[in-house]
């Protein structure tokens, strides 16, 4: 999938999500804004800017090492008490805890359960 036809348009927010494929029922959004219970398929890992003092490439590598690769099935299982952060995400067969800030780099397309 090339940059141009990716449904995600770079805006972080449900209201912008999935404009390109709205008619098909596909919603693409950063996992960082997805509600608890969201289920989807990873469409891209796109780290924008430094995060927590780490260069984007390092964040990307860490996400990849924890199994967040394109095509993986993700589901938000739990979220924390303060600002609904961090989140616990089921990635295929494992559960990973991470903050919403880093989860912004995980672009996912909603999948029916």
């Amino acid at each position: 999938m090339s940059e141009s036809d990716r449904p995600h348009n770079g805006h972080a927010g449900l209201e912008h999500a999935g404009l390109g494929h709205a008619g098909l029922g596909h919603v693409s959004l950063p996992l960082g804004v997805a509600p608890c219970g969201f289920r989807g398929r990873v469409d891209a890992i796109e780290v924008r800017g430094h995060s927590g003092g780490l260069p984007p490439a390092e964040i990307e590598n860490r996400l990849l090492e924890l199994g967040f690769v394109e095509g993986a099935i993700v589901e938000i299982l739990h979220e924390g008490a303060i600002a609904r952060d961090p989140i616990a995400v089921r990635v295929n067969n494992a559960t990973i805890a991470l903050r919403r800030r880093e989860a912004m780099a995980i672009i996912a397309v909603a999948e029916p359960a």
């Binding site: 890992i45 995060s51 927590g52 003092g53 780490l54 490439a57 964040i59 990307e60 590598n61 860490r62 996400l63 990849l64 090492e65 924890l66 199994g67 690769v69 394109e70 095509g71 993986a72 299982l77 739990h78 979220e79 924390g80 008490a81 303060i82 600002a83 609904r84 952060d85 961090p86 616990a88 295929n92 067969n93 494992a94 559960t95 990973i96 805890a97 991470l98 903050r99 800030r101 880093e102």
Partner: protein, 649 residues
């Protein structure tokens, strides 16, 4: 078959013996070196324990404080194998000191370690995805490799069909199944070690490993996913238990309540469960002291054995039950899989105080002892976050404070129940722990916002493993190792400090015809009186000042020192409990001031030494010492004067 070992004549070898039965004809080195590698939560350490049992040595790698665990095993063919348990990692990229050790040992870069003859990559059979990616990365190192599917019984129970032969063929790596926690669960692994390791010797391939790029990580993960799709079936009976427990335990509100309740139960248990055992140990040492008193002629030697050695060491060993109960909780929660959940629940709360969610585990370990806690900060890869955690770790109430707290609480706080069921003494104990936690959060907040002036917190990413029933064997082994560590400390550092304090309290001898107790003429009194003007404003008498000095070696020594000081001074009181002596001689305000002092005081030389080693600088050790001493002085000053104002002076 001409090798160095075969051509070098061995005088003890029988020349006509069958070469296969003759160990001297074996071309292999006497010892094989295997390394256990694996992702966190793969059950690697359980496998290590199963393979090596009690033949383990725990030490540090030279120059770094990464724990080095080595054990010995015997293969069915009778070869002895050195097994090294490497820190868990998702990749060889080496993002932290722990992971660098794993990388360097695997690649044979560490001059102090033998290059591993075989890498045993341990994987959780129920969760292969990340492990298989690691296997693909490990293959590039060219080292002989064996994939161990651990927890295979669990995979079968969940109806996960794993085609082991297919998996092996797809990966190009031999695969063995194991159940580390079951008796005979490693039989197959051991049996295959001989046959698998054999042809690989001397055939280490070319090392083409380099830190993988993002696209290489993607490719490797896709390859791992493809292998799983061909060789591993979906679970027919997926683990629903973990999900059901997590629904409650990770619930935003209920989760935090459960966490607090767990901590509360833990501290109540430390206080009340240990009591009978402690009484038993206490009376044992008392009897021993009485025996030595009657067996030895009166004089210096009798005083040294009874007051210096037996009551000194006894007053520290008596706290072993409490320390073990605390470690029991920590080990059980760790093995159960709760610790990662606790970090999840605490991340934002800790984050608001400028701490990383990952700091939760080091800080929780610091409740047992700041030393392993500070060493555990290696999981935090951001230097400043790690430094902040190291600075505040000694504020967590370590088990060495328990003796001091228990002594003073039981002497001054009545043992009654409030609200019907809460033990008041336990409540005060809980309050002291809470004060330690609150001050740690306060100090880290100040460090983050005023010292570092940095507001970003580095990423928090952590796997939440499936819950597993803790195994008696591994918990027992962990408890045993901690008990030995404590007893070794009691036997060396603490014992030698007891001798020093006894000496300080006994010499010089009182002049002939002296009427005051002997200790009033001793070196201890001289030092105590010298410190008295400095510490009088916080309500300390000179006996406390004396006890603070050996307390620098280890906090709990202060108890023993007080015992020695009062035992020697009191003469008749020697047989009495230290607590009773204190209750007679201290005001409540003084007792509370000592408690406040102990929340903060940097009274542990080994902790300071570890801080120096971990931060690599005297500066941070000095900073820790100075800030803690300042806080201790201020806190006990305030507590003392408030208490006096309340009429408790």
């Amino acid at each position: 078959m001409s090798t160095a070992a075969a051509t070098a004549p061995d005088p003890t070898a029988v020349p006509s013996a069958d070469p296969s039965a003759d160990p001297s004809a074996d071309p292999r080195p006497d010892h094989w070196h295997f390394a256990l590698v694996g992702t966190p939560n793969s059950g690697k350490t359980a496998l290590f324990n199963a393979l090596t049992g009690s033949r383990q040595k725990v030490a540090n790698y030279p120059g770094v404080t990464v724990e080095r665990k080595v054990g010995l095993l015997l293969t069915p063919a009778g070869r002895s194998v050195n097994v090294i348990d490497l820190p868990g990692t998702y990749s060889l990229r080496g993002r932290s000191p722990d992971e660098e050790i794993t990388r360097d040992v695997v690649l044979g870069r560490l001059s102090s370690e033998s290059v591993p003859d075989l890498l045993l990559c341990v994987a959780d059979a129920t969760n292969l995805r990340l492990a298989l990616r690691l296997v693909i990365e490990l293959k590039r190192t060219g080292r002989p490799l064996l994939l161990v599917l651990n927890m295979f019984d669990l995979a079968q129970r969940r109806g996960i069909k794993i085609d082991v032969a297919r998996l092996s063929a797809e990966l190009g790596v031999p695969v063995v199944t194991a159940v580390a926690v079951k008796r005979d669960g490693t039989t197959q692994l051991l049996a295959r070690m001989d046959e698998i390791a054999e042809p690989h010797f001397g055939t280490a391939g070319e090392n083409t490993w380099h830190p993988p790029s993002a696209s290489e990580l993607r490719t490797a993960q896709r390859e791992a996913d493809r292998v799983i799709a061909t060789a591993v079936g979906a679970p027919e009976r997926p683990d629903t238990l973990t999900a059901r427990i997590d629904k409650v335990v990770l619930h935003p509100a209920a989760g935090l309540i459960i966490l607090l309740a767990l901590l509360f139960i833990m501290f109540q248990a430390v206080f009340s469960w240990a009591k009978p055992l402690m009484d038993l140990i206490q009376s044992g040492f008392d009897t021993l002291g009485d025996l030595s008193h009657s067996a030895l002629p009166g004089g210096l030697l009798q005083s040294f054995i009874q007051n210096g050695v037996i009551s000194g060491v006894g007053s520290v060993i008596v706290f072993l039950p409490q320390i073990l109960i605390l470690f029991l909780f920590i080990l059980l929660l760790e093995d159960f899989g709760y610790m990662a959940r606790a970090a999840f629940l605490m991340d934002r709360i800790m984050g608001s105080a400028g701490l990383h969610g990952r700091a939760f585990i080091p800080l929780l370990s610091s409740f047992a002892c700041a030393i392993p806690g500070i060493m555990a900060t290696r999981v935090i890869d951001n230097r400043r976050d790690r430094l902040t955690t190291i600075l505040v770790a000694p504020l967590m109430t370590c088990s060495a404070r328990i003796p001091v707290y228990t002594l003073i609480i039981s002497a001054f706080i009545p043992a009654r129940h409030v609200w019907g069921f809460v033990n008041l003494q336990g409540l005060v104990m809980f309050g002291l722990y809470a004060a330690g936690i609150a001050s740690a959060l306060g100090v880290s907040f100040v460090a983050k916002h005023f010292v570092w002036q940095e507001h970003e917190t580095p990423p928090f990413m952590l796997e939440l493993p499936d819950y597993k029933l803790p195994r008696v064997r591994s918990v027992a082994l962990g408890l045993y190792q901690r008990a030995m560590m404590f007893l070794k400390r009691a036997g060396t550092t603490i014992f030698s400090m007891m001798v020093v304090i006894w000496f300080l309290a006994s010499f010089p001898r009182p002049p002939a015809g002296a009427t005051d107790p002997a200790i009033n003429y001793s070196l201890a009194a001289i030092i105590g009186h010298w410190l008295a003007p400095v510490l009088a404003p916080v309500g300390f008498n000179w006996q406390i000042d004396v006890a603070l000095i050996p307390g620098m070696a280890a906090r709990e020594v202060a108890v023993a020192a007080l015992g020695t000081v009062y035992a020697i001074e009191g003469g008749k009181e020697a047989a009495e409990q230290i607590g009773q002596a204190l209750a007679n001689k201290w005001s409540l305000a003084t007792a509370l001031a000592v408690l406040a002092w102990y929340i903060f005081a940097p009274q542990c030389a080994s902790t300071l030494a570890v801080i120096r080693r971990e931060t690599g600088s005297w500066k941070w050790m000095g900073v820790t010492f100075a800030y803690m001493l300042t806080l201790a002085y201020i806190a006990s000053f305030i507590v003392y004067h408030v208490a006096v104002a309340l009429g408790w002076g």
